[in-house]
Subunit: 304 residues, 2 copies
């Protein structure tokens, strides 16, 4: 089965993963926003720790209505644009298409399922440091694995094929069966580091090595673990210390929310903070510390 | 009974209250730090909404060891210097002296009582907007009342006389009998507004009129009320809404911690955040939201 792919949102994530698939001969159709004309003319450049490559001939589109129907739609845009998703996807999906949300946060699959009943949806988290550094130009600095799990629809076979296609392209894919746990585990890192680097104008290493913010990061991580468990997520007792150890070894960097804030783009506060807070509360758990950071972020977003 | 007064720390608070007493003929001895030479030569200028005044001849001292023993010592310096208090007070107090701590925070009377057993101690909170705007130059913008209550010692009669002296000088003094409640009620305003104006680089009105930070302020206030009650403080159910109403009507301004941070001076994190958090925890209440702000402030203080 040769799958056709659509990449919705060709920034750091979409450019890298779509670029890898295209480089290995997969049929990939890229939706661009402002970079469309540039990529049509000059192609897509990926600078990667695993080897740079250039795709001269890219199946690029400036408008989703011009794209063909694809077997797999990889949604790589920020959740702040998810209100546009139904309009974008309507002309791209066929009866058996699988939509893969490679996004951060919680509650995003449910929102799409409510808007587009019957569509098969997979949730995915990317463990990667990658940034768009110019028009049609992506820099991949570190890591690269994807973790995916089904949200709804009969899509197990396609999901296995997606994993195989990515493996062929050199991207490790873990296919899980518990999307709820995958999403909450990702939040354990995202909630402290994304918000605090914005509020405190700091880098990941500043927060990790200062004793006060290190404790605050750990407190927030423990709160996310407790909230996730209240919502049925399975997270081991050693997960928080593993996340801290991992962050200590990482090259210091600005998480996506900090990059968005500095670039005056909308931040993913709703998906990454407000949705988890609301969903945890529905399960009887109040994320008190997370609420502080959420409200601080909303204030900063409005002030800007 | 004509009381003699020592003013320890002649900034906005000490300059205004000591200046009012001296203007009305009380025997006031002012301890200055960097302004000593200036005030010796040019006197003390108070610009006040209730009428400007100038004191040409001021009993000014540059060193506490040169001051006479006084009946009343008004401690008006920041709590960040309280580790110096015992050394400063030792030569100023006599057997019946009363030390009045016109300071913010919690646990400061106990610390002094432990260091100087036998000394009579009164705690006081100032409801006032006043700032030192230059050498020997104080600007009093709004309000001015003092609330006092005994912490330890036989000092009821002196406390009544202090209140009478201040009333004569046009300063309203409320003498209470429950210092614990007075301190916690002051924290209800101080904890949200001092910390958040620093962390979010904002003014009081920014925080009050933005819907997200308004909710955060209210959440923090409710947490302080709950913590105070766990520690035995009596705070009415309408106190939080009264504080919000009051702040809405205030001229927007920077609380003392914001002023200190902007001036690269130490912030009163220990007395205003860490002590309440620790004391509440000893009484079984975890101030989870306040802990977030405390750790953010400690990070910012160390970064600066």
């Amino acid at each position: 089965m040769a799958l056709s792919y659509a990449i919705i949102g060709t920034g750091g994530i979409g450019g890298y993963y779509g670029g890898c698939l295209a480089k290995f001969g997969k049929d990939v159709h890229f939706l661009f926003h402002s970079d469309y004309e540039f990529v049509k003319q000059y192609g897509l450049q990926v600078d990667s720790v695993r080897g740079d490559f250039h795709l001269q001939s890219v199946q690029a589109y400036g408008n989703s209505s011009e794209m063909p129907k694809c077997d797999v739609v990889l949604v790589c845009m920020k959740t702040t644009n998810n209100h546009l998703l139904k309009a974008i996807l309507s002309s791209i999906v066929h009866a058996n298409s699988v939509v893969v949300l490679i996004q951060n946060g919680l509650g995003i699959e449910k929102q799409l399922a409510d808007e587009m009943p019957g569509v098969s949806i997979v949730g995915a988290t990317a463990f990667i440091c990658t940034t768009k550094i110019g028009p049609g130009h992506v820099h991949h600095a570190e890591y690269g694995s994807l973790t995916m799990a089904k949200y709804c629809g009969e899509c197990e076979a396609v999901l296995q094929q997606i994993a195989a296609d990515f493996e062929e392209a050199g991207v490790q894919v873990n296919v899980g069966d518990d999307l709820n746990s995958i999403r909450w585990k990702k939040l354990v890192w995202n909630i402290p580091y994304n918000g605090l680097t914005v509020v405190l104008n700091a880098e990941t290493d500043d927060l990790t090595f200062n004793p006060d913010t290190r404790q605050l990061v750990i407190d927030l991580m423990n709160e996310v673990v407790a909230a996730g468990r209240a919502c049925g997520a399975k997270i081991s007792d050693t997960f928080v210390s593993k996340m801290i150890d991992m962050t200590e070894k990482m090259t210091p960097y600005s998480p996506s929310m900090r990059v968005d804030y500095d670039a005056h783009r909308p931040m993913e506060i709703q998906a990454m903070y407000s949705n988890p807070i609301q969903i945890a509360l529905q399960h009887g758990y109040a994320m008190k510390k997370t609420e502080v950071v959420e409200k601080q972020l909303r204030f900063l977003a409005q002030k800007r």
